[in-house]
Symmetry: C2
Subunit: 218 residues, 2 copies
């Protein structure tokens, strides 16, 4: 049964998503991912990934039938386009270096047909960093998180513990003072290598099982 991705443009008013989700529930369709956002004051864009769609054409026709819906297109899923995400959080200098390693390695895998993205945010301060780490659990398609700083502990470490408990995310830390290195799956000194290893750890075209490395530091 069909897994499909749809892009729906609609008028922005309460009830639009209700109408669509009511229809999916009635049809026994499971929504695996949905993402609604405002295009402007009057228009919303709803992107949905659905599974167990028995009759795709009929379902799309039904959605088109809603008054508030302006258009529906079947499209590739974000997973097919942007694939797994490596998230790099920390100080600017180090985030940039880890990103360099990760992007170069992702390029090598993507050329062979994979889709791996490298997403980053440079931040300063325990509060901002711990919030960014916690929110990784609310981001889609995350495969690995790299902590690219020179001193991380306290609330950041707590956020890592929480993320690891609730989500299937590999955590790689640069070798640094602070307690985050104790909670990371892997500690790497060279930022370029940390980025490369993060991509290798999530890539399907790499033979690299981070669990087999144990708690070694590189």
């Amino acid at each position: 049964m069909g897994e499909i991705a749809l892009n729906i443009r609609a008028v922005n008013r309460p009830g639009v998503l209700r109408d669509i989700t009511e229809l999916t529930a009635l049809c026994g369709i499971n929504i695996t991912y949905t993402h609604l956002f405002m295009e402007d004051k009057d228009h919303a864009s709803i992107y949905m990934e659905l599974e167990a769609v028995k009759n795709v054409e009929k379902f799309i026709e039904n959605i088109r039938g809603f008054d508030s819906v302006l258009g529906v297109d079947e499209c590739l899923s974000l997973h097919e386009i942007y694939g797994k995400r490596i998230i790099i959080i920390g100080g600017g200098a180090q985030v940039a270096m880890v990103a360099q390693g990760a992007i170069a390695e992702a390029d090598r895998h993507n050329i062979r047909g994979e889709h791996i993205s490298v997403d980053t945010i440079p931040l300063v301060g325990e509060e901002d960093l711990s919030e960014a780490v916690s929110a990784v659990g609310r981001l889609p398609r995350v495969g690995a998180l790299v902590l690219a700083g020179s001193l991380m502990g306290g609330k950041i470490t707590e956020a890592i513990e929480e993320i690891k408990k609730e989500h299937d995310v590999i955590v790689i830390s640069l070798n640094m003072p602070g307690s985050v290195t104790e909670k990371a799956d892997l500690v790497v000194t060279d930022p370029i290598q940390a980025g490369v290893m993060a991509v290798m750890a999530v890539a399907d075209t790499a033979i690299f099982d981070i669990k087999k490395l144990g708690k070694k530091r590189f």
Copy 2:
């Protein structure tokens, strides 16, 4: 009236989102962003940004009342945490250089209280690249797109035209052969500077209006 962000953990079954969206519609609450994804086979995580919430406590209590809901937390919005996004798409070598400029510049703005993310994907081939450019319109919080390649035209240029028509996204291109440079808001030769300028163009703490530059090349 309240704008809030909620993180809802629920059992994965058809109808969960329907129940929640029905409640929001009944309360006249507008969903400005929602994002549902599977945590594992049995659990879904629903992140929502809502506006026009009259009674936040009551609303959260009502959501907690649904059988399929396991927990509800009020949280910071993804905009408050990760902020505006710069998306860099192209070949690995150049994506990495543009990212370096963008991350260093984002760091300087984020230190002053902004939140700017730098998200990248290295890809090869007109098909993959044009799909990635088109899908930028389905990503949230995008402020600018940087095309970091050495030859881009054809379908990639068509995707840029489409994005610019439907979304408020600044497009910066490296100086390269191919028609994409004709459609970009700004053409920059140095990849580091392209990254820096992309961040300056979306930052609130920068005085840099890309429209004032006209169609100059740097």
